[in-house]
Amino acid sequence: MAEEVNIICTFCGSVCDDVQFDLEKFKGKKFCKLGSSKFSKKERIKAPMIDGKEVSYEEAIEKAAEILVNAKRPLLYGWASTVNEAIRLGVLLTEKVRGVYDQCASVCHAPGTLALIEEGVPGGSLGEIKNRADMVVFWGSNPMEAHPRHPVRYSVRAKGLLIKDRKDRKVVVVDVRKTKSANMADLFIQIKPGYDYPVLSALRAIIKGEEDAVPEEVGGVKKEQLKELAEMMKSAKYGAVLYGLGVTQSRGRDRNVENAIKLIQLLNRYTRWIIWPMRGHYNVVGAGEVPAWEAGYTYAIDFSRGYPRFSPGEFSANEILQRGDCDAALIIASDPAAHFPKVSVKHLKKIPVIQIDPFPNMTTLLSDVVIPSAVAGLEAEGTAYRMDGIPFRVKKIVDTEYWSDEKILELMLEKVNELQR
């Protein structure tokens, strides 16, 4: 008899928790393509390594501790694909070695955090979108490729309290290109790359009744079409703007999000609207929440003075690397060598790098110390926050010889304490 267990998917920010996993066949029901690849067997980092030579966990961790303690300003980066218990130890470790804590959001949704600082975030949980949203706008987000089950479980086709059918809900996609998600929309609005900000300003002005201050065309969109969208938004009973990296990684970045939030604030004077980011990694929310309660900020945190300071233009990983402002790095649960611009990777190649990850990746190729770890949600348990902040305890369903991130960091913190004594 094959044993089936419930698992919580640890790939994307949707954190689907309705998957039944067959341990014998090593296959899950209800997975999307991303989930089934996450929970499939693939090549692992075989053993801890120092300079390419296999060593014990203890030796690798000791070496890592030495690197961190000897650095003037180490960068500890990643965290989005591990659990809160590990992240918390990571924050403590960064504080101990007086380094810089940064996490994957800084190349993902951190501009949303900056917008939160400016305007707050009027949001809601995914269940509320499912239950109430009669209009959903995907702005610069492409769930069909980045969060494949989001439309079914939470947003487009999800049914709930007030929404009984797909027809009860209007779906709009705003993007600079016709994505796969645009195909499922009732309305697709294509804007010129880099013109989210003015389009949002125009929508606000129209909704406010000041359309004479809006030119005939904004960001490649005709005023008539903007008026149509504004009218749709105003007449929705409960709407949700779900924005993605199309907004945060292009011209305007945080100011785009800030402007969208101002639009939502305005709309709430007429009806109910919420806005929420389509967060990428399964626990990138935790990678910001944990440091926020431990150290006051979500990312780009410098501990060099023994207390936390925040400055994205100085302490985010890419600024640090491009300025050559760190002399060692610990990379955990992420792959900056693949996901950072060339000039940032260049500095990473120059300094000692410690990597903690289950899988070999491009960062492995430039790391001096490599420490393989267990896969959270499969081989290790712990807490993770879904994109809407709802906490889950992801599960351990198979045994492994690999150490969990938590165990690795616990020992590393211990070693650092010893070395500093």
């Binding site: 994307c12 690849s37 970045r253 890419n318 060598a337 000039v343 899988f359 491009m362």
Partner: protein, 123 residues
């Protein structure tokens, strides 16, 4: 040679192979540039051809792919090491490099597409 505005971003295949970066599947998932039909034809490309993508920030050789949904002048490269050779690394003080909406040029080339491992060597 044509002028384009480059967008990088997630694709399903990129996501499905992201934990297997040193495999051929990942290589295939991220080593191409989508162009509009018009631009694709203007460069006299056929499937399997390579293009050199150049911006103020770097250049990279990738496979050319035709995408009927793209407007003329737009180019899409899946997020990853190839896109990152040409995107704008400047964060403008926000910490976030500009991964989307970078002006560049695309031309046909006979040069080969570097593997992931070769790519990191040349950085």
């Amino acid at each position: 040679m044509i002028e384009v505005e480059i967008i990088s971003g997630r694709t399903l295949d990129q996501g499905a192979t992201v934990e297997e970066k040193l495999t051929d599947e990942y290589f295939k998932a991220v080593n191409y540039c989508e162009l509009s039909e018009e631009d694709f034809n203007a460069l006299n490309l056929s499937e399997g051809d390579r293009v050199r993508v150049k911006t103020d920030f770097g250049e990279v050789v990738v496979y050319a792919v035709k995408n009927k949904d793209l407007k003329k002048g737009m180019a899409f490269i899946p997020m990853g090491p190839y896109a990152n050779m040409v995107i704008d690394p400047n964060t403008d003080g926000t910490g976030m490099p500009q991964f989307k909406g970078i002006k560049g040029v695309v031309e046909k080339t006979e040069d080969k597409v570097l593997t992931v491992k070769e790519l990191i060597e040349v950085i």
